[in-house]
């Protein structure tokens, strides 16, 4: 039942926040922040005192939903889900905090959308019924679409529609795959079910398995994003309000990685193995091309958006290398990228709120005007480039290590991405914060609220960087469970 509470809490708080608007703009903000903090506490509670379960699963909830199709409301959590839930809740708090002064219109509806989108993402991390998974997968998009379309920047309508079309379109392919999978399972066993555990280990003719795998892969690849399906990302991130960018980069992209990890490979191990070289090549292309694109941007937000393409390339590489190190690395990379990119978007949002521009040509020389803000910028930039001691380094290193054991050429090529990361991260610092203050910027430095967000996220980044063991232990149990599933079939 605690899992149900974790999903229901933001949903409920969203409705209350919408209604709480009448008590002034602060009420929805506090309500949303409190609900997400409580959600994080629930997840932590589950992490520390897991329900006695079997294997790597810590909690489960199952209720009949649509017996006609063998669809149940089935939620379950293992270590992987827990980490993703925790990330979602924490970034959710950060997103509420960072829009405290940015969002002044229709505050109630804003927080409603924010909370519902997060609830959808949390449902994605918990759903163990493929229909339910798809349900949450789509449900998190609609509020995000409103976040971009209503509170976004200049080209918000274009960006919102593009975001929605890409993700919804690929989602429909996944829906077809899900239905075909369930019906194939029905034909083979006489049991119509959409349950993850029933559908695992299905045996198909190789070509059927391949097409089904591709349907799933495409949906997740668009979300991750994998080159060439990444074009929605830059627009959506750039045009979204700060909170939207934080949730998009920190949580929604992770649902793609999570889907690959939980569904694509375990459901279709043979097809995924055959497809691994292609997927890994796409991952390497994403790493290098994303870094190149990021390096070439003038728009600060767009630059950060493209670094996501590069970083998520490592995740794709790690997932398809499918050994313990690479998988652990992919999970650490997901967490570290969520925190560091989320924090970068908060920082860019703060800059834009103060200066009214994201154009690197107009920024410059901010260090003298706002030293603390700029120092945070430097810190996040070196986190993004993978400085040892910070979270991204651990993730990227483990992915490269794991990949090298089986597909060394890919690892070698991907390692070049670290050079690219150094280039874009440093050029960002140089152009935004160093140099001459030609525009004569006079900025207010970080206030207490912003400092608190930064300290919290930075603590996470450093924590993952120097002491990743608890995370590895938690995720490792779940990951070895997944590996056993694949190995058994």
């Amino acid at each position: 039942m605690i899992l149900l509470a974790i999903v229901a809490l933001p949903l409920l708080a969203g409705i209350l926040a919408w209604g709480a608007e009448r008590f002034g703009p602060a009420a929805p903000r506090w309500l949303a922040a409190a609900a997400l903090a409580a959600d994080a506490a629930l997840v932590l509670w589950l992490w520390v005192w897991p329900a006695p379960g079997t294997g790597s699963w810590v909690a489960e909830a199952i209720m009949p939903w649509m017996p006609r199709f063998g669809i149940a409301f089935h939620l379950a959590a293992d270590g992987l889900s827990l980490l993703m839930l925790l990330l979602s809740a924490l970034l959710g708090v950060a997103a509420v905090a960072c829009s405290w002064t940015e969002i002044r219109e229709r505050v109630g509806f804003f927080h409603f959308c924010l909370l519902w989108s997060l609830a959808g993402a949390m449902g994605v991390f918990l759903a163990m019924d493929l229909f339910l998974f798809f349900f949450f997968w789509e449900a998190m998009l609609v509020p995000m679409y409103f976040l971009i379309a209503i509170w976004g920047h200049e080209r918000r309508h274009y960006a919102a529609i593009k975001f929605f079309l890409f993700t919804q379109g690929s989602g429909l392919l996944m829906l077809v795959s899900i239905v075909v999978l369930a019906i194939a399972h029905y034909r083979a066993t006489g049991l119509l079910s959409f349950d993850y555990f029933d559908l695992l280990g299905g045996v198909f003719p190789p070509d059927v398995g391949f097409w089904l795998m591709l349907g799933f892969f495409l949906a997740f690849a668009v979300k991750l994003p994998v080159v060439p399906f990444h074009t929605w990302l830059a627009d959506a991130h750039t045009e979204a309000p700060t909170a939207g960018s934080v949730i998009l980069a920190g949580v929604l992209l992770k649902t793609g990685a999570y889907g690959l990890l939980r569904f694509t490979v375990p459901l279709f191990p043979a097809a995924a193995l055959a497809f691994a070289p292609v997927a890994m090549a796409l991952g390497v292309v994403g790493i290098l091309y994303g870094a190149l694109l990021a390096f070439g941007q003038h728009d600060l937000k767009r630059l950060v958006a493209y670094t996501s393409v590069s970083h998520m390339g490592f995740v794709l590489l790690g997932i398809f290398a499918w050994n313990a190190q690479a998988l652990n690395g992919a999970v650490i990379q997901m967490l570290a990228h969520g925190l560091s990119t989320g924090a970068l978007f908060v920082l860019v949002g703060a800059l834009q709120e103060r200066t009214g521009t994201r154009d690197l040509g107009h920024l410059g020389g901010l260090w003298a005007a706002a030293p603390r803000l700029s120092a945070w910028g430097l810190f996040l930039a070196v986190a993004a480039l993978g400085l040892p001691g910070l979270g991204n380094f651990v993730g990227e290193f483990l992915v490269l290590l794991g990949t090298f054991q089986r597909y060394s050429p890919f690892a070698v090529a991907a390692a070049l991405g670290l050079v690219g990361a150094a280039a874009y991260a440093l050029i960002m610092v140089q152009r935004a914060f160093h140099g001459e203050n030609r525009q004569g910027w006079q900025l207010a430095d970080c206030n207490g609220r912003e400092t608190a967000i930064m300290v919290a996220l930075a603590a996470g980044i450093v924590g993952i960087g120097v002491f990743p063991q608890p995370l590895l232990a938690t995720a490792g149990l779940a990951l070895s469970g997944l590996q056993r599933l694949v190995g058994a079939s």
Partner: protein, 509 residues
């Protein structure tokens, strides 16, 4: 001869008939808008209340003309509910109408009665009679504000095309009768299935008859290439009538098509299936692509309904029990979302004067959310449901279609369904964006200050709640649809049918 049980089984239809006559008489005695609308609403409620009693006696064959089976009664219930919703929304819409208002309800009830006989018919005579009753009433409903130019134009267009489609149907029925010697669906179904198509000259006549029949039905369903009337008629018709036209008339024909296909084993005739497949794919493609170009919400909904009927054909073609259930669920969803969308247009248009037309330009909806959040919220839910987004009934309906298409391995149709849904997102989202735009248009006159507005607001809220509730927890509707499509009934009916099929006519050459 009819006996008491037959009368009980026919109760719902008789209630509709009585309500029609009663409303007509009341109008002659005393003109009162509220009285006429109330009588119509009570009549529809009576029809709904008599349904469970009729269902207990189902399946029942009445005189070879009507087959009262659970599925047919389900559709009758759906139609009556849609008529009730239309009745309530029309009450608010017509409150400020300058002309005579009461006859609208007589026509509405007559059209509902016609639609009811169409979905229950098992015989071409009953079908044709019901269809004509429905079409003629609809023609008058569309042209109801007869003093205005555009409704009149739309009404005449519908009249001409309805006449054409009836002519095609009549000719098709004649050819089928010539070949099979029966007007009862099941009667010639046996002879239809026994012979491979194209083996003899007569079979070609049967094929031609069926092709003409499908063309006639295609007109009513506004399938491509028989769709040209739909956008103009929708645009010109008063919004409640347009909603009724989009849902009840199309839904009744679609339900009849499913029964016809089942009774005559249409699926054994590859030529017919190819025709249907072609119509489905063309409708999905043309409906969605043309909807992209529209700046008028009613025209947009017209093209979207062309596409939706194309989606629905996927389940019809897939066939089988799952296909029939998919049609039923999708129609339920289609009814709810279209009635809601047209209802919002009606609510916004009710205060308009003659020269202004209806509130159907996209510009009329700019920023609506910020000054009429309830109506805009309802329209948003309806549009998302039309787009097939989860949390709404439209998604569950689409899921049914996917399941039936995949189950029957109709990959081409499934691909069309996916592609159509993606294109569909474009134009539904365009409207949603307009609703949430930051610069609100000048607040439109309308629902506010109208004494009857509560009826419309209540109906729309109820429809929107149904949309979301059955999108979140579809089990009750699924269970109902499953029980009415339980496959055992057909064998029972054949045992019940005592009368031998009529002999072949002697005019064979």
């Amino acid at each position: 001869m009819l006996n008491a049980d037959d009368l009980l089984a026919l109760g719902p239809l008789l209630a509709l008939l009585a309500a029609t006559v009663l409303t007509l008489l009341l109008v002659a005695v005393r003109r009162s808008h509220g009285l006429a609308a109330g009588t119509a609403a009570v009549g529809l409620l009576a029809c709904l209340a008599l349904l469970p009693g009729a269902a207990r006696l189902a399946p029942r064959d009445v005189d070879g003309l009507l087959l009262l089976d659970p599925a047919g009664l389900f559709y009758l219930g759906l139609i009556s509910l849609a008529a009730l919703a239309t009745c309530l929304m029309a009450y608010a819409y017509l409150e400020r109408f300058d002309g005579r208002r009461e006859e609208f309800y007589v026509l509405l009830l007559a059209a509902t009665l016609g639609a009811g006989s169409v979905v229950l018919s098992d015989h071409f005579a009953a079908f044709f009679l019901g269809l004509e009753l429905m079409s003629v009433s609809l023609f008058a409903l569309i042209a109801y504000p007869a003093a205005r130019q555009r409704p009149l134009e739309a009404g005449i267009k519908y009249l001409i095309l309805a006449g054409l489609s009836s002519a095609l149907l009549a000719f098709g029925i004649a050819l089928i009768y010539y070949d099979s010697g029966s007007l009862q669906f099941s009667g010639f179904g046996a002879c239809f299935g026994a012979r491979p198509m194209g083996a003899t000259g007569q079979a070609w006549l049967l094929l031609a008859g069926n092709a003409l029949l499908l063309a006639g039905l295609g007109f009513k369903l506004s399938l491509v290439p028989f769709h040209l009337w739909a956008p103009d008629v929708y645009e010109g018709a008063p919004a409640p009538a347009a909603g009724f036209l989009a849902t009840v008339s199309k839904g009744a024909i679609a339900a009849m098509l499913v029964r016809y296909a089942g009774e005559t084993q249409l699926h054994d005739q590859p030529a017919m299936i190819v025709l249907l497949e072609l119509a489905a794919i063309l409708s999905i493609a043309a409906g969605n692509l043309l909807a992209l170009l529209q700046d008028n919400l009613k025209r947009l909904l017209a093209y979207s309904s062309i596409a939706h009927l194309g989606y629905l054909l996927v389940a019809v073609i897939a066939g089988g029990t799952l296909g029939a259930e998919a049609v039923a669920y999708y129609l339920l969803a289609y009814f709810a979302m279209n009635l809601g969308a047209f209802g919002v247009i009606a609510a916004l248009s009710s205060g308009r004067r003659d020269g202004e037309g209806e509130a159907d330009r996209l510009e009329d909806y700019r920023g609506l959310f910020w000054h009429k959040p309830l109506l805009a919220g309802i329209l948003t839910v309806n549009l998302l449901s039309l787009a097939g987004i989860p949390l709404t009934i439209g998604f569950i309906g689409k899921f049914y279609l996917f399941a039936s298409g995949v189950g029957a391995a109709r990959w081409l149709l499934v691909a069309a369904l996916v592609a159509g849904s993606i294109v569909g997102l474009f134009y539904y989202l365009r409207v949603v964006i307009v609703l949430f735009a930051r610069q609100p248009a000048a607040p439109a006159p309308g629902i506010a200050g109208n004494g009857a507005a509560w009826a419309s607001a209540l109906t729309l809220s109820f429809l929107a709640l149904t949309l979301v509730w059955l999108g979140l927890y579809p089990e009750p509707a699924m269970e109902l649809i499953r029980s009415v499509h339980a496959p055992f009934y057909r064998t029972e009916v054949s045992r019940l049918r005592l009368r031998p099929p009529p002999l072949r006519p002697s005019l064979r050459m």
